[in-house]
Each structure stands twice: as C-alpha cells, then as structure tokens.
C-alpha cells in the first residue's frame, strides 16, 4: 500500500508571513487579533479580526517574495496568500527544481471556503456605479476558488491532478485528505494541499455578524475576543491567511532523502444532515468523522497525544468536546487538546490546513500550542487538558485535527511521526 507523508510546509497567518514566525508567536502565546484596518468599520457590529499584517510589521507578510506584481493586481488576497504558502512548502521540501517527469506526477489541491469575496464586493460596486463596461477583465479568474491551484500549477509547472475543495470551514482538512488519497490511488506522487481565505471586507464581516456567528461583544478588547471553551465565549473572530503542505508518497520522499515531518494515516469525512449553520446537537457528524479517521489509522484511543480542535469560540465547542470524549475517552486518553483559533482567529477555508501544520510542528518540536483566554472553562471541560494560556512541552507522536463547516460538513485528519 502506498503511504503518504508530509515533506514541506508553508504558512501565511495573522501571526506571521512564514512557518517559523507564525509558530514561534503561537507558542509564545501571542494573539493576531486587532481592530480591522482594511476598511471603515464604524457602521459594523463587529470591528475586529485577525488580519495578516503588512510587510513592514514585526511579523508581517511580504507578498513581493513569491507573487508577481501583475498577478497580485489581478487576484483577490486569498489567492496571493495561497500562492505564497505553496511556494514556501515547495522550497521547504526542496522541490523547486523538479524534472518534467516528476512534474507530470505532481499536483495541487488547494481550496477555499468562500473565495474572492472582497473582489466580488468591489466589482459589484463598479458594476452598479459605472456600468458593465468598467468591470475588470480579470474579475472572474481573480476570484475563483480553484485559481490558487491554477496559478500555482502555472508558476511551478505542476501537471498532475489540479483540484480545489470547497467545503466551508472544513476545506483545508478535506483538501489534505483528498490529496492524500490521490497519492494513495497512484494518481500522483506529490501533491500541494491546503486552503486559503481572505474575507475581511465589509460584506464578509456583515454577513457573518448577521448570521450570529461572529463575536460582536468584544470590539474594545480584540485579543480577548476568541476564547474557545471559556464560559464567556461569544462567537468567532475572523482570521485570514493560508496553509499548504507538500504531501509525498513515502518511497518517493525516502528515495530523494527528503525531510519527513509526519505521515497522514487517517482521514474521516461525514455530513451532519441537520442544519445549515448549527452543528448536530449531539455531535454525531463530528463523531462519525473521527471514528472513520481512527479506523483508517489503525490507532487505539490512547494513542493520540494532541488534538487540534475545531473550537471556534461558539456554542459548538461544547458539542465538539463531547464528541471527542466519546471517541477518545473522558480524559481524552491522556491527549492534550487546544484551539489555536484563540490566537489566529478562524481562517475558514484555510483553518484546517493551517491547523494541520500546527499539529505537524507539535510533532516536530514536542510542544503543543495553548488555548488563549481560557479564564473560566465551561462545564464539561473538567479533567481535560485544554492547554490553557501557555504552550506545553510533552510527548507528541500522533495528532488529530478536526474541522467542521457550514452545511454540516466534517473532516478529521490523523497524522503521526514516522519512525
């Protein structure tokens, strides 16, 4: 059976324009939240978000590094973040100079939950105010979700499968899981897989606020707003950015002497079949996804050391925790579980991939990132290590990453260290 390993990582997040900056800030317990700087929020219910910082910021993102000026002008930010994170991952994997035969068997599976919302918003205003003759000729392909995979394949000459998942906040996890299957099935030897999002724009903030999903009560204390598993939680904080990994067939990676971070051993998917935005109250869908991933991984319940929870800082956190307990046991079988959305916000379609990378780095460095703002843990959290406020050194051999999305779509990934 073909095995799938991770050999490269790339991140653009509110805590850094690359993997190491993001990770160091995350482990240090920093928050990426602040007042929205992109637009005037004076008439919005929510005025805060976790924005990717500009290049001159201490942990900013420099789009000049890997994305051509002309492309940056034409496309929405989520595509820029995705191209950059994919480039980082290829560089990290040592795959910038592939021969033609290798490129034929190298593909992309980089998705997004929503796609180019800021551009759809602004061009709609151009249409309304100036007429159809002023709409940008780059409007369509600069907003389409599959155009990260498209742009990356063009830039790096990747001629294998070209795919893009759209499953709301489960996108990043589904992207990795689906791409791993493509490698297992023999469709490719190398896949760039992940997700990206950037919807911090007036209609994005207003839309999620109207859906009662966003925190609208902490505008004066942005760093305290995202508080998964805390009694005082009151909705998620929007984040943005991208996470992309290089997945590679194990023998292929070994033969070229690649650094192997982890193996993707389990992938589970399910549907809640319940409600468009609310999770099933008993968390059946979440549980089914985790159980499927476990079955594939061939691991026992006590074998997981770290769970990166979906934990959005909404009412759904409790439902997820109850489901995780049913699968892993009341003490999670000794696993630590944290929600890094407390630090970087909710990256929606990027979340699953960014969080999978945090899981991989937990394996690499034997440390798990904290859940910030956990002042008053909710009922049901007793006896569970939610890594409050401070990162924790511990043994991490196997990790579980959960992602759940609007529409009732669930994905769970299990990865483990390769001996």
């Amino acid at each position: 059976m073909r095995r799938v390993v991770v050999t490269g990582l790339g991140l653009v997040t509110p805590l850094g324009g690359d993997v190491e900056t993001t990770w160091n800030n995350l482990i240090a317990g920093k928050s990426g939240a602040g007042q929205i700087t992109r637009f005037d929020t004076s008439d919005q219910k929510c005025t805060i978000a976790c924005e990717v910082k500009p290049a001159d910021h201490e942990y900013g993102f420099d789009p000049d590094k890997r994305v051509d000026f002309k492309i940056r002008r034409q496309v929405d930010p989520f595509i820029v973040y995705g191209i950059d994170a994919a480039g980082q991952a290829l560089e990290d994997a040592g795959l910038l100079d592939m021969d033609e035969e290798t490129k034929l068997r190298a593909g992309c599976s980089i998705g997004s939950g929503i796609g180019g919302l800021p551009g759809i918003e602004s061009e709609s205003l151009v249409l309304a105010n100036k007429g159809p003759g002023r709409v940008s000729p780059h409007f369509v392909h600069g907003r389409l979700i599959n155009l990260i995979s498209g742009q990356v394949s063009i830039k790096y000459g990747l001629m294998g499968p070209n795919h893009a998942v759209v499953t709301a906040c489960s996108t990043g996890a589904h992207s990795i899981g689906d791409a791993a299957r493509m490698i297992k099935d023999g469709d490719a030897d190398i896949m760039l897989a992940g997700g990206a999002e950037s919807t911090i724009c007036p209609i994005g903030i207003a839309g999620f606020a109207q859906a009662k999903a966003l925190n609208c009560s902490s505008n004066d204390a942005p760093e305290k707003a995202s508080r998964p598993y805390d009694k005082g939680r009151d909705g998620f904080v929007m984040g943005e950015g991208a996470g992309v990994v290089v997945l590679e067939e194990y023998e292929h990676a070994k033969a070229r002497g690649a650094t192997i971070y982890a193996e993707v051993v389990g992938y589970g998917l399910s549907g809640d079949a319940y409600h468009v935005t609310a999770p099933h109250p008993e968390g059946k869908g979440a549980e089914n996804a985790m159980r499927m991933a476990f079955k594939k991984a061939g691991l026992g319940e006590g074998d997981i050391d770290y769970v990166n929870a979906h934990g959005t800082s909404t009412m759904a956190d409790t439902i997820e925790l109850a489901a995780v307990k049913r699968v892993l046991g009341d003490d999670l079988g000794g696993a630590s579980m944290s929600s890094t959305k407390s630090a970087i916000g909710h990256l929606l379609g990027g979340a699953g991939a960014v969080e999978a990378i945090f899981c991989i780095l937990a394996i690499r460095d034997q440390i798990v990132p904290p859940t910030l703002n956990l002042d008053d843990p909710d009922e049901g959290t007793e006896g569970v290590d939610l890594v409050p406020k401070v990162a924790k050194k511990r043994e991490v051999k196997a990790v579980l990453n959960n992602s759940f999305g609007f529409g009732g779509t669930n994905a769970s990934l299990i990865m483990k260290a390769v001996d």
């Binding site: 051509d68 000026f69 002309k70 002008r73 003759g133 002023r134 940008s136 000729p137 780059h138």
Partner: protein
C-alpha cells in the same frame, strides 16, 4: 514627452509592473511588455477612465503599441 504620453506610460507601468524605461513609444504591449489580451482590455479601460475617451472594441484591437494608444487618445480626447 507630451502630457498624454506621460500619463499613458504611467498607467502602463502601474498595470503591468514593468520598468518605466521599457515603456517606449514603439514597445508592443504583448511582445515587449509581457501583457496578454486581458491585460490590454484592462489598459484600454484605464485609458478611457483617465482621458474620458471612448475606445470601441474595433479601435482597441488596433492598439498594439504604447504609441498606438497615445496617438488614438490624442486624436479623440475632448
């Protein structure tokens, strides 16, 4: 350099991200400045906005160099 020429060249530099000294009057948008057909549609829109001229599709198709654009604008602007 005429005022029109200067403004046309500025738009080309901003849109295509090319060095200003490459934007000569006989530079071809596609062959010399790396534009594709959609970039030209966008440039034409930017010229229309900047100079308040209407450049119909059949005229736009004949604009292949920086000089072609300057000439058309000079002849048609109000």
């Amino acid at each position: 350099m005429s005022d029109t020429e200067e403004r046309v060249k500025k738009i080309v530099v901003e849109h295509l991200g090319v060095e200003a000294d490459k934007v000569t009057m006989d530079a071809s948008f596609i062959d010399d400045l790396g534009a594709d057909s959609l970039d030209i549609v966008e440039l034409v829109m930017a010229f229309e906005e900047e100079f308040g001229v209407e450049i119909p599709d059949d005229a736009a198709e004949k604009i292949t160099t920086v000089g072609d654009a300057v000439k058309y604008i000079e002849e048609h602007k109000g």
